[in-house]
C-alpha cells in the first residue's frame, strides 16, 4: 500500500500513456532492487535456519552411525527411557518456575521504579540491569563459586542467622532450585525493563480519571494498569518461556546436568547425547522435542504483536 503512495506522489499528476509505461518499468525495477537488497537475508535464513531445520528432521530418523533410516526409532527410544522423562519434567519445572518468578519480581520492581521521583530512576535502573548485561555463562561461574560446597559464601551468610549449610548443587531439589535461582537473577531485569517501558506508556489521565471516580491504588492497578499492559505482559512472558525453555548456559556451567542427570534440560541433554556421546541423530531428536512447544509460544507471540500493531494504527 505504502509503495503505491510513494509512486503516485513521485509522478506528476498529468502523466501520459508513455509516461505510465516508464513508471511501470520503474516499479518493476524497484521490486527487483528490493529483492536483491533482501537477498543476503533470504540466503541467511534459508541456508542457516530453514535448511538446518529440515536437515534436523531427516537427521533424527537415522541410526547412530548415520547409515540407515530407522524412522521414528530415536523418538521411541527416548520416550521409553526414564532419563528422558526426567528431562521433560525438569525442563518444564525450570521454565515455568523461572518465568513465573521473573515475571513477578520484574513487575514488582518496575512498579517500585515507576513510583520514585523521575530524577533517581535512571541511576537505579542502571544498577538493576547489570545482571542482564553480563554474559550469563560468566556470571554463572560466579554463582557456581558462591554455591561451592566448602567455600560457599551464601552459606556463610546463612550461618550468621544460624541457618544450617545448604547443599546447593549436591541435592537434586536444591540443585533444581539453584538453577532456577540463577536464571531468575539473570532474567528479572529484562522483565523489569519491559514492564517499565509499558508502565510509562499508560497515559496519566487514566489514573486521574480513576482517582476522581474514587479508585484505590489497588483498583487502579487492577482496572487500569493491568488491562493496558496485558499485551506486553503476555508477549514478554511467552518470549521468556521460549528462551528459558531452551536455556543451556546456566545448566552447563552450574551443574552440567548433575546430580545424576536430574537437572538436565532439553538443551543440555541434547548436547550430551548428540555432541559429547557422539549420537548426533538422537541428539537432534532431543532438540526437536522442543519444537512443538516453541511453535505454539511463537504463534501466540505473533498474534499478540499483530494485535498490538492494529491497536496503534
Amino acid at each position: 500500500m505504502a509503495a503505491d503512495g510513494t509512486l503516485v506522489a513521485g509522478a506528476p499528476a498529468a502523466a501520459g500513456s508513455g509516461r505510465a509505461n516508464t513508471m511501470q518499468r520503474f516499479a518493476r525495477r524497484r521490486s527487483t532492487i528490493a529483492f536483491l537488497m533482501a537477498l543476503p537475508l533470504i540466503a541467511l535464513i534459508g541456508g542457516l535456519v530453514v535448511y538446518p531445520a529440515g536437515y534436523a528432521m531427516w537427521l533424527s530418523t537415522l541410526n547412530r552411525r548415520m547409515t540407515a533410516n530407522i524412522g521414528l526409532g530415536n523418538f521411541e527410544i527416548l520416550l521409553e527411557s526414564d532419563t528422558f522423562w526426567m528431562v521433560i519434567m525438569q525442563s518444564c519445572i525450570f521454565a515455568v518456575g523461572a518465568v513465573i518468578a521473573k515475571a513477578l519480581i520484574g513487575f514488582w520492581l518496575a512498579h517500585m521504579l515507576h513510583h520514585i521521583p523521575a530524577k533517581g530512576q535512571r541511576k537505579w535502573r542502571g544498577m538493576l540491569l547489570i545482571p542482564w548485561v553480563i554474559p550469563p555463562a560468566l556470571s554463572t561461574l560466579g554463582w557456581w563459586w558462591m554455591f561451592d560446597p566448602s567455600y560457599s559464601s551464601i552459606n556463610w551468610l546463612l550461618n550468621i542467622f544460624a541457618v544450617p549449610a545448604v547443599p546447593w548443587l549436591g541435592e537434586p531439589w536444591w540443585a533444581r532450585f539453584s538453577v532456577i535461582l540463577v536464571n531468575v537473577w539473570y532474567g528479572s531485569p529484562f522483565f523489569m525493563i519491559m514492564y517499565l517501558a509499558a508502565l510509562k506508556s499508560v497515559p496519566d489521565q487514566l489514573y486521574e480519571a480513576a482517582a476522581i471516580d474514587g479508585a484505590t491504588g489497588w483498583q487502579g492497578l487492577r482496572y487500569v494498569t493491568l488491562p493496558m499492559m496485558q499485551n506486553i505482559i503476555s508477549i514478554t512472558v511467552l518470549f521468556s518461556l521460549i528462551v528459558t525453555f531452551a536455556n543451556y548456559d546456566i545448566v552447563r556451567v552450574l551443574t552440567n546436568g548433575g546430580p545424576r542427570d536430574l537437572t538436565q534440560v532439553f538443551a543440555s541433554y541434547a548436547f550430551q547425547v548428540g555432541i559429547l556421546s557422539g549420537n548426533l541423530p538422537r541428539g537432534a531428536a532431543v532438540s526437536l522435542f522442543m519444537f512443538p512447544v516453541l511453535a505454539v509460544f511463537a504463534y501466540f507471540i505473533l498474534r499478540g504483536i499483530n494485535r498490538r500493531n492494529k491497536e496503534q494504527m
Binding site: F35, A56, L109, I134, L141, Y151, V253, A270, F291
Partner: protein
C-alpha cells in the same frame, strides 16, 4: 540525596493533608526499600567475583573470617592472566569474531530492513513475519544440524565457522528493529528525495541511515552483546583451546583438574564480561531502546 529531600517534602505535606499523603509516603518508603534490597541481591554475585579475583589462593582457602571481604588485595590473578598467551588468544578471537559478526549483521539487516520497510516486493510481508519467527528460534534447537553443516564445510575448530553461524542469532532481531525504525520515517522525505532525482541507494545512505541512527546504534549494540556472549555454538563447534572465544575459553580452560584457581577464574570472567558492561555503561539509553524495541515497535 533526592530520596531524602523527597521524603522530607512528603513528611511536611503529610502532616497537612493527612492519610492520603501518609499513604504516598509509605509507598515511597516501600519503593526505596525494595529497590535497595533488589540492588544488593542483583549486584552481590559480580561483587563477590570482584572480591575473589583480588584474593590470593591462600586467602581464598582460608576459611576463617568473612569471605565477602578482602584483607590483602592483590592484582596477581589479573597479571598472571594477562601474561597468559592462551587467555590473550581467547580475547583476540572474541574481538575478531565480534567485529566481523557486527559488520556482517549490520550490512545484511540494514539493506533488508530498508527493502522490507519501504520498497516491498512479492512476498515481502511474509518475509518480514519470517524474520520475526527466525528471531524466536533459540540457538539450542538447531545446533546439532549446524554442527554437521559446519563440519562438512571443514570449519569446526575455527573462528570462521562461528563467524558464519553467529549472524543467525543477530540478523533477525536487528532487521526487525530496523524495519520499525525505518517505517517510522515520514514518507515525505523519500518523496522529496525521489523528486530531487536520488536513487534508492542514495536514499538509503543520505536519508534513512542518518535519520535512523539511534536505531542503528541500538541494533549494533545488540549484535555486539549477542556475539560476545554466545555460548552454545562455540561450545559445540570449538574444542581446541587456541580457537576458543572468551566465554567458552574461561569456562572450560581456566578450570583444570581438581584444584580450582578460583581467583584466576573470577578475574578471567570479570575481564571477559567487561566489554559489554562498558558499552552498556556509556550507551545505556540505546541499549535499553534496543531491548524494548522488540515488543514496543515493529
Amino acid at each position: 540525596m533526592s530520596a531524602s529531600t523527597a521524603n522530607t517534602i512528603a513528611s511536611y505535606t503529610g502532616k497537612k493533608l493527612g492519610s492520603l499523603r501518609s499513604e504516598r509516603r509509605w509507598a515511597l518508603w516501600t519503593a526505596y526499600a525494595s529497590l535497595i534490597v533488589a540492588t544488593i541481591i542483583f549486584l552481590a554475585p559480580p561483587f563477590y567475583m570482584l572480591v575473589t579475583s583480588l584474593k590470593s589462593s591462600s586467602e581464598i582457602s582460608n576459611l576463617s573470617g568473612n569471605p565477602w571481604l578482602v584483607r590483602a588485595p592483590t592484582l596477581e590473578n589479573y597479571k598472571e592472566l594477562i601474561a597468559n598467551p592462551l587467555f590473550r588468544g581467547f580475547f583476540v578471537n572474541s574481538v575478531i569474531i565480534t567485529l566481523c559478526v557486527v559488520a556482517i549483521s549490520m550490512v545484511i539487516s540494514v539493506l533488508a530492513a530498508f527493502s522490507l520497510a519501504r520498497m516491498k516486493f512479492w512476498g515481502s510481508q511474509a518475509l518480514a513475519t519470517g524474520v520475526f519467527l527466525t528471531y524466536l528460534v533459540p540457538d539450542t534447537l538447531l545446533f546439532i544440524p549446524l554442527y554437521q553443516i559446519v563440519g562438512s564445510l571443514g570449519l569446526l575448530n575455527s573462528i570462521w565457522g562461528l563467524i558464519l553461524i553467529y549472524p543467525t542469532l543477530t540478523v533477525p532481531f536487528c532487521t526487525w528493529i530496523m524495519i520499525g525504525y525505518f517505517a517510522s520515517i515520514p514518507k515525505e522525505l523519500d518523496e522529496a528525495a525521489l523528486i530531487d532525482g536520488a536513487g534508492w541507494m542514495q536514499m538509503l545512505t543520505k536519508i534513512f541511515i542518518p535519520v535512523a541512527l539511534p536505531g542503528i546504534i541500538a541494533a549494533t549494540i545488540f549484535a555486539f552483546t549477542v556475539s560476545w556472549a554466545a555460548f552454545v555454538y562455540p561450545t559445540a563447534f570449538v574444542t581446541t583451546p587456541e580457537h576458543m572465544p572468551l566465554t567458552i575459553g574461561v569456562v572450560s580452560q581456566l578450570i583444570r583438574g581438581d584444584t580450582f584457581a578460583w581467583g584466576q577464574i573470577m578475574a578471567g570472567a570479570l575481564m571477559a564480561a567487561l566489554p559489554p558492561v562498558v558499552v552498556y555503561a556509556f550507551l545505556m539509553d540505546y541499549y535499553i531502546a534496543g531491548l524494548t524495541a522488540g515488543a514496543t515497535k515493529g
